[in-house]
Amino acid sequence: MIELQDVTIAYDRHPAVHHVCGSFAPGSLTAVIGPNGAGKSSLLQAIAGLRRISGGSLRLSGCRRADISYLPQLMVADDGFPISVMDVVQMGFWRRIGPFRPVTAAMRQAAVQALSTVGLDGFDDRIFGHLSAGQRQRVLFARVLVADSRVILLDEPFTAIDARTTKDLLDLVARWHGEGRTVIVILHDFEQVRRVFPHSLLLARELIAWGPTAEVLTAENLLAARAMSEAWDNEADLCRGAA
């Protein structure tokens, strides 16, 4: 369970996310949606432990920070780096191998299997930076796959990805959900959200709605999110309650 109690996240004392309350149930599949600049990535980074919260509390019960896999937006990874596809996937074993322990034959086999699962058989020795955007995203999903985490956070994983790859990776997301993992995904495609995600969280710096997707993705809520986002003052100070 991931519980958010009055969570506020700020950059240089300017708020990015304000007073968010709610919880992600174990094994749930949730889409985080909202306009650009709504604080979706900040929220995911806070859950992943990459960003400090300025107010409220964020509690992980029944899982540790080490049980979380976080996949940032694709552009964050250095695609000019001369690293092989296999080495990228094997980074997923980091919690088990750390900076010093060797990669075992079983791990190597699991990495090959993960590449096969994402449709990249025989890509082991290819250089990651030489792949297409869709293939790179498949590799990064294979890295999440071998990490075998109980909580998976994906930040806009299907941006600039072709339809076929999106479908394959969405199937993998559904498989993770079926295996009882908690999966939280930032998305912009409402159709995708309606089709695949049972729960949604609509954010526009403040929480607009959180619950079953059909109840969250209403015209009224979306209008409210848009209005909230447009009215927001980026230079505003934190409100007193959050400081």
Partner: protein, 291 residues
């Protein structure tokens, strides 16, 4: 045959200072290879240059307090380099300013301060010594320091290699796992400064970075794996050192620029005919696409 021996081996067989210089080149190359490759991979090629210059005021202060004392100048240079690296890192972390801009600002302050110190407390000969080094005048103490630094560098790289790779490739990923990406970057910056200190004894603050960057940049036109880049960069740095020393002896050229110019020549050859993304390969690729 004798002529070839006289040209390529004779200077090292006949003169102890040439042998010492060659060993110094070997020590510098072993450290410079991995440092240069990771500076390129981290897109910090020019930051390496700024850090090389930033050791100057520390070395000058060491000179003012202890004369031409190697330990004092090295310690001063090391502390000045670390100070500039830390200050630049802190500014980029706590303000919106990017790391390259803060490095440029601190290195300029550091360089100007260093030149001022050397000019007002030393002679122009001292300034030239610090700026251009004197690999042919390397004594046992300097050689021990260089060998020690290259040994520490290689051992440290063996320890942080995997973490540094992960941090370079995808810093967010590593931070999400253990929040320790900064440690690898910090150790790396300390190693950069250490190798700059080793380099300025031999090649001076202006040239030290040349032996680091040129072989590392050239290696990318030949190989693609990180370990092979490191191996090739170290090997070509040593070849540059050897050829530079031979040229310096034969034509009575200054040794530092000779070494760096050979490294530059190897870079130009790599750029032209290397098997990976060189000018030649790009021309052939275009022709292939047209036909």
């Amino acid at each position: 045959m004798t002529g070839l021996y006289d040209m390529l081996i004779g200077p090292f067989a006949d003169f102890a200072f040439m042998r010492r210089a060659l060993v110094a080149c070997l020590a510098l190359s072993l450290g410079a290879g991995p440092i240069g490759v990771f500076l390129v991979l981290r897109r910090m090629s020019l930051i390496g240059d700024t850090m090389a210059h930033s050791v100057l005021p520390g070395a000058a202060l060491g000179f003012i307090f202890a004369g031409l004392s190697l330990p004092a100048m090295s310690l001063g240079g090391f502390l000045a380099g670390v100070l500039v690296a830390m200050a630049s890192g802190l500014v980029s972390r706590y303000t919106p300013q990017k790391e390259d801009a803060s490095f440029a600002a601190f290195f300029m302050i550091s360089l100007a301060f260093g030149v001022l110190l050397v000019s007002t407390h030393g002679t122009s000969v001292d300034l030239i010594h610090v700026l251009f080094g004197s690999i042919l005048g390397v004594d046992d103490q300097s050689l021990t320091l260089m060998a020690g630094i290259s040994t520490v560098t290689m051992l440290a790289f063996a320890a942080i290699y995997r973490g540094l790779i992960a941090d370079c490739f995808d810093r967010t990923f590593l931070a999400s796992l253990e929040g320790r990406g900064g440690i690898y970057h910090g150790i790396f910056l300390v190693l950069v400064v250490l190798n700059m200190v080793a380099g300025f004894q031999a090649l001076g603050t202006l040239m030290a970075v040349g032996l680091m960057m040129l072989p590392a940049i050239a290696a990318r036109f030949w190989v693609r794996q990180v370990w092979s880049l490191i191996f090739l960069a170290s090997a070509s740095a040593f070849v540059s050192g050897y050829c530079g020393l031979v040229l310096s002896y034969r034509f009575d050229w200054p040794s530092g620029p000779s070494i760096v110019l050979v490294a530059g020549l190897l870079y130009l050859v790599s750029l032209t005919i290397g098997p990976r993304d060189s000018l030649l390969i790009n021309v052939l690729r275009r022709r292939h696409l047209r036909s």
